[in-house]
Symmetry: C2
Subunit: 205 residues, 2 copies
């Protein structure tokens, strides 16, 4: 298998975080800079089918894109440690938390970077209002996770899951526009410090 | 089990579509109008844990929210017909298409309704610019699905899956602001007509 990926971009980094947590080292990594536009080249489109990274090319040439679809597929091949759930009920619970992270917090953080970082002006018609609105949305979105992490060690409960990986990599990405967990959010800060100590913290950077 | 749901809202409708496709009739339906604010009441929050619908209350009192987490859980209990994939590779492929539908098309359609329909003025500070931008995004997002449906009968391939349900229910919801598949998109129109003929087409309406 081969993974098309790009340094620092948020969706590739999710997959790299996931691979690091599982100590996956036998997948070929083809890393490129999205600013080169390689993902829009005829050769890339012919192979991958869409102008996106990450993309996982299987040995038969079929391709999986979308960070969470790639991670769930890798979990089937590398089951340890489990990050998506061990039975349908736990899987549903973890997916619920993962989607809350993604839809309420990760998406506005990503949009804040797109509208607020000079390097991304080439990708987005940037708007200071959109930047401010998305920063405010992301800040508001962190409140329930601060409450949650006052009750549980990790986002989905008593063990690390994909939900932690999505929130952590999003917060790391949002550092590009100086977005931070607030000083009065001790539970999030405790959790973030624990995530930063893991070997996975810098995967894909 | 009990499902909290609300008529016409897009996320509850996904679950109702899914239940209709599987002919699930033994889950208690507690339907309420989101405009009454019941989902923000102390009793609801104490039971469900978040001010959202749909929410599936299991027999032990634990709760799953998020439409796709609920559907995937129901698939484990009601496996026929399969809508999420029969093996890890097909599951990944279906999740890839489902996420493309959701992130590129369903989300802007939902935002277009929030910014464009008078009934939703109570939920959103509406903006004509946001309405127009989201309509444009949704129109653009349909183009690759028109191409796809020129190659395959259904979104994820040769059989109906959850990806079709998400796109169909989103398009039905977007009719509230007169959003339509374009007349020059024959493959989408063929697919939409087939979806409308199914018994699931009006579930949750």
């Amino acid at each position: 298998m081969k993974l098309y990926t790009s340094r620092l971009a948020p969706n590739p980094r999710r997959v790299r975080w996931f691979m690091a947590e599982k100590s996956i080292t036998d997948i070929e990594i083809d890393e490129f800079d999205l600013f080169t536009g390689r993902h829009k080249s005829p050769a890339y489109l012919a192979e991958v089918g869409a102008p996106v990274a990450p993309a996982l090319v299987l040995d038969d040439g079929s391709v999986i894109t979308e960070s969470l679809a790639i991670c769930r597929y890798l979990e089937s091949l590398y089951p340890e440690p489990n990050l998506f759930g061990l039975d349908p009920r736990e899987t549903a619970h973890i997916e619920m938390w993962t989607r809350r992270v993604e839809l309420t917090a990760a998406n506005p953080m990503m949009m804040a970077v797109r509208h607020g970082h000079p390097a991304l002006a080439a990708l987005e018609t940037q708007s200071p209002e959109m930047f401010a609105a998305n920063v405010a949305r992301a800040q508001k979105a962190l409140e329930p996770f601060e409450t949650r992490l006052g009750e549980t060690e990790w986002i989905a409960g008593d063990r690390l899951t994909i939900a932690d990986g999505i929130l952590f990599t999003s917060l790391e990405f949002a550092r590009m526009v100086k977005f931070k967990v607030a000083e009065n959010q001790p539970h999030l800060l405790r959790w973030q410090a624990a995530m930063r100590e893991r070997d996975s913290a810098t995967a894909g950077t």
